[in-house]
């Protein structure tokens, strides 16, 4: 026998109370001088023995009440031998149910989550009388349906029946920790954690920590495993636009990555792409995907209209439907405006710092420039103060000596709203000004400008860009030798870029886009606020390098601009459960937006208001629990539709189970039960040596009976005789 609250056994000392009271009462004697002693004496002689016996009986009964009460509060548990079918004491239990999206896998009929629901109902049915249950769902977050143990098991049953699987990933540790916390707060009954999960390996990454919590000797733990091995499971693990800028009417390339999480090689995998849930616009076949590998396929589509669109890449449905398609949101543009700022006022236009850049961004004849989707405007630094930067998708500072304080503040506000800044140095660039203001004070630049390397007129000495290993998305196309090479470019003169950690809250981590062959940074980037900054180490024209003369210049500049637009569109794509934060047109401030998950009824949409946050008009939305496309209908005239998408984490699609040996190692402290469709948990989780029989209820009843007996006997004994 053990005690759940052994310290309360000290309560037995309370048996001294009736004895002390008895002695105290005997001390409080009233003396009476009496005449009729003969009758009293005769009466006492006849009754004394009986009275003494009654006194002893009452005293014993009162002591017994205190002993039983102390025992009941100490909650003794009788542990029988293994397999003994003891009557179980009441439990304080936590039903911890995995609702990550892998639980949506079905075997052709019921899903793993359906099985988990059935298992939970069986557990609830098998709980002893007087048990209380908390109900937690866990994925990468824990949602408490019944946060504290409730005696209303019918409520728990109803909540279990109504439960839905989420589109999140699994984190068993987090769930078990919260379940343990719940039990910490509720010490009553045999404490029991029922963990119902599909036992995915990805959810048990912190196995040792989980095992430690489950092996807590004061808490009984049962792991109920549901689901079976899945032979075929393909996942659309990535979808990205490879075209630099999605423009209206132009073919845009999308790469769809499909990963085979099945147990056998996938062959002839059909992959489709569609826009705005329309029929597929392109389809391709991946011949073979080995087990555990991912393969990409490029598919094309066109956007008929400018504005927000969703693009969905999909494969044929299998037993885990959620990962069979992936949706991203983006903007198709028919007008990309770029502001070019330069201090150059050379008579020779080709010597102007922006000459090559302007032509690279609008590589069409002057007659066609107005119809081309990228439009540039060139201004002097002085004009920067009065120009509304919000009219431009990107701002380029090319060989600008310095800018005014007002311009710096304007750039900060522009970046904070999601703008893009591209900086090229040149002969006129005042490095000290850039370093002091743009790099250190505001933290715009990912690096300070160090010493200048090389001489522009000594073209026999030059720096070259790295020849391979392009990790950054902007330059990744040159990993393919057929796309040309960056390494052929000669840089005669360049600033040494010294990465600068951000000194402001808005400044993100500096990243290198591409390096020189000597591994020093050539182009760097940094997120700043909601915007993005790209810093080149050399000039935008041929003053310091021959890059504008190289074939790579045009695609590089286009990809740099596309990267900035991508960063802006990236905010349209959030992981499941994350908050969407969209910078809106300032004219929409104060307007309401109804947000719905595409496919759901419009009436079930959520209402949000566009409001100013730190000077930026924002639409915020955090109910992105379901993966897939969403629409925000802003109440403008006519209504404006913004599309965005929530992305599931493909790691959850890996249904590989935690090795059985690992799970078996939890025994005997933890019960691990495999639940099948026809399985019954009675006798598996409810009849076990570790589960003692609690008798506090019996003891409490005995206390009650003894107290009643004491009252009745006291009444009878004290009746005059």
């Amino acid at each position: 026998m053990t005690f759940l609250n052994p310290f309360l056994l000290w309560g037995m000392a309370a048996i001294a109370a009736p004895i002390i009271i008895h002695m105290f009462m005997n001390r409080r004697i009233k003396p009476v001088v009496w005449a009729a002693m003969r009758f009293l004496q005769a009466s006492i002689q006849k009754n004394q023995k009986r009275m003494n016996l009654e006194d002893l009986l009452l005293l014993a009964l009162r002591c017994l009440i205190f002993i039983l009460l102390a025992l009941a509060l100490a909650r003794p548990v009788f542990k029988g031998p293994k397999g003994t079918n003891l009557v179980r004491g009441s439990e304080t239990a936590v039903l911890l149910i995995d609702n990550s999206y892998s639980m949506g896998q079905n075997d052709g009929g019921a899903t793993r989550f359906d099985q988990a629901r059935d298992a939970a109902q069986q557990i609830l049915d098998s709980l002893p009388q007087g048990s209380s249950v908390a109900l937690l769902y866990f994925s990468n977050i824990v949602k408490a349906a019944v946060p504290e143990p409730s005696f209303d098991l019918n409520l728990v049953r109803k909540l279990v029946a109504d439960a839905q699987v989420s589109d999140r990933t699994t984190n068993v540790e987090q769930g078990v920790k919260q379940a343990a916390d719940v039990l910490d707060r509720h010490q009553g009954g045999t404490q029991h954690i029922y963990l119902i999960t599909d036992g995915q390996e990805v959810g048990w990454k912190q196995f040792d920590d989980i095992a430690k919590m489950l092996r807590n000797p004061s808490v009984k733990s049962s792991v109920i495993l549901v689901g079976s091995t899945e032979e075929h499971n393909l996942c659309v693990s990535d979808l990205r636009m490879e075209t630099a800028i999605a423009s209206v009417g132009e073919a845009s390339q999308f790469d769809v990555e499909v990963t085979n999480f099945g147990t056998s090689e996938a062959k002839d995998v059909a992959v489709r792409i569609s826009v705005d849930n329309e029929p597929a616009s392109d389809e391709g076949v991946i011949d073979s995907i080995p087990v555990g590998a991912g393969k990409r396929i490029s598919l094309f589509t066109k956007f008929a209209t400018a504005g927000y669109h969703t693009v969905t890449g999909s494969v044929n449905a299998d037993h885990l439907p959620i990962d069979d398609q992936r949706t991203i949101a983006l903007r198709a543009l028919d007008d990309v405006r770029v502001l070019l700022v330069t201090s150059d006022d050379d008579a020779d236009p080709t010597a102007n710092a922006t000459f090559y850049l302007r032509h690279a961004l609008t590589p069409v004849s002057p007659a066609e420039m107005d119809n081309y989707y990228i439009k540039t405007k060139t201004i002097s630094p002085a004009e920067l103060d009065t120009t509304n930067l919000g009219d431009f998708e990107a701002v380029v500072l090319a060989d600008v000596a310095d800018v005014s304080q007002a311009a710096l503040d304007g750039i900060a506000a522009y970046l904070n709203r999601g703008g893009g800044l591209i900086v090229f140095p040149g002969d006129k660039t005042q490095a000290q000004f850039y370093n002091d203001n743009l790099a250190k004070k505001y933290g715009f630049l990912p690096a300070t400008l160090g010493k200048i390397r090389g001489e522009a007129d000594k073209q026999d000495k030059f720096l070259s860009l790295q020849a391979k290993g392009y990790d950054n998305h902007i330059v990744s196309i040159w990993n393919d030798p057929n796309a040309g090479t960056l390494a052929s470019t000669h840089f005669y003169r360049a600033y040494e870029l010294k990465p600068e950690a951000g000194h402001t809250d808005q400044a993100g981590e500096p990243q290198v886009i591409v390096k020189y062959a000597d591994s020093t940074p050539a182009i760097m980037e940094r997120p700043w606020g909601r915007g993005h900054v790209i810093l080149f180490s050399s000039s935008a024209n041929t003053a310091w390098n021959d890059m504008p003369l190289r074939p790579v210049y045009l695609p590089l500049m286009e990809r740099v601009l596309g990267s900035i637009l991508d960063q802006q569109d990236a905010r349209l794509n959030v992981p499941v459960g994350s908050q969407l934060e969209l910078v809106c047109n300032p004219e929409w401030t104060g307007k309401d937006a109804i947000i719905t998950h595409v496919g759901e009824k419009k009436e079930s949409g959520s209402l949000r208001r566009i409001s100013i946050v730190n000077g930026v008009p924002l639409l915020r939305f955090d109910e992105t629990e379901k993966a897939g496309p969403y629409e925000a209908a802003i109440k403008t005239e006519p209504p404006t539709i913004i599309k965005f998408a929530a992305q599931f984490d493909p790691s959850e699609s890996n249904l590989t189970a935690e090795p059985q040996a690992e799970l078996d190692s939890l025994a005997p402290d933890v019960q691990v039960v495999r639940w099948g469709p026809n399985a019954h948990l009675d006798g598996q989780t409810g009849k076990e040596g570790g589960n003692g029989a609690e008798i506090w209820v019996t003891l409490a009843m005995l206390v009650l009976i003894a107290a009643c007996g004491e009252m009745i006997m006291g009444g009878i004994f004290s009746a005059s005789k």
């Binding site: 005997n26 004697i29 009476v32 001088v33 002693m37 009293l40 005769a42 004290s718 005059s720 005789k721």
Partner: protein, 298 residues
Amino acid sequence: MASESKFLDPVAIQRAEVLGLQARQIVEGYMAGEHKSPYRGFAIEFAQHREYVPGDDTRHLDWKVLGRSDRYYIKQYEQETNYVAHLILDGSESMKYGSGSMTKFDYARTIAATLAYLILQQRDAASLAIFDDKVRSYYQRTDNLSAIHNIISLLANFEPEQSTSISTVLHDLARQIKRKGIVILISDLFDDVDNVLKGIQHLRFSGSEVIIFHVLDPFELTFPFKGTVEFRGLEGGPKLMTRPADLRKSYLKELNDFITKLRTGCERNGCNYVQVNTATPWAEVLSSYLATRQHRYG
């Protein structure tokens, strides 16, 4: 000297005055509206005639009235001193008990003083004996009303000190009483009931009418104590610690058995048994006495 100085004690005198005044007030209050001498007898002074009824002594026939009117009338005379009342007062320690301000002895001696005053006022004779295990104080027979002061003084200044032996005293008194009269025993009678009854029987055998005022305190009659109580006997004996509430029924049964036996014994011996609760007015006691007096002497 000791007794003389006692009578000169101002406290003793004051006690006696209070007791005497109390007795007088009781009697006068009770007798208010009554005729001076309601008791008729056969003494010297003629009082009235009444018609002869069979059983009357023919010696008292008024022959003159018979000769004149041929009617039988009996002559009646006012009586001066018809009988002797022997007041026997229990002065044992058990009489010292009183749940209120008045002890049983206080109550008993008030009765004794009252009766003495009434008896002497009505020209009967009275004697007084105060006893415990023997007669401690005695006032010899007197029919002089002025002697009442001495009697009251004796009563007022007696303090119970000894334990009781009623039967011994009753036997002694039975032997000493020469003239038949009324023996008035005022006591709680806390003694062996059989011996008490034997003593009473002896008194009756000597030809006296016996009135027994059985004086009991209301607490003795109800035993209302609560909690744990240590009872200490007034006449010695071991201390008894108990919970009286648990014993009430049993105690009252013992007491009632005692009273019943006493009452039955008294009735069997032709005695008038009057149970007196010290919480009841003295007047009721006088009624009991006068009823007995009426019954005995008409």
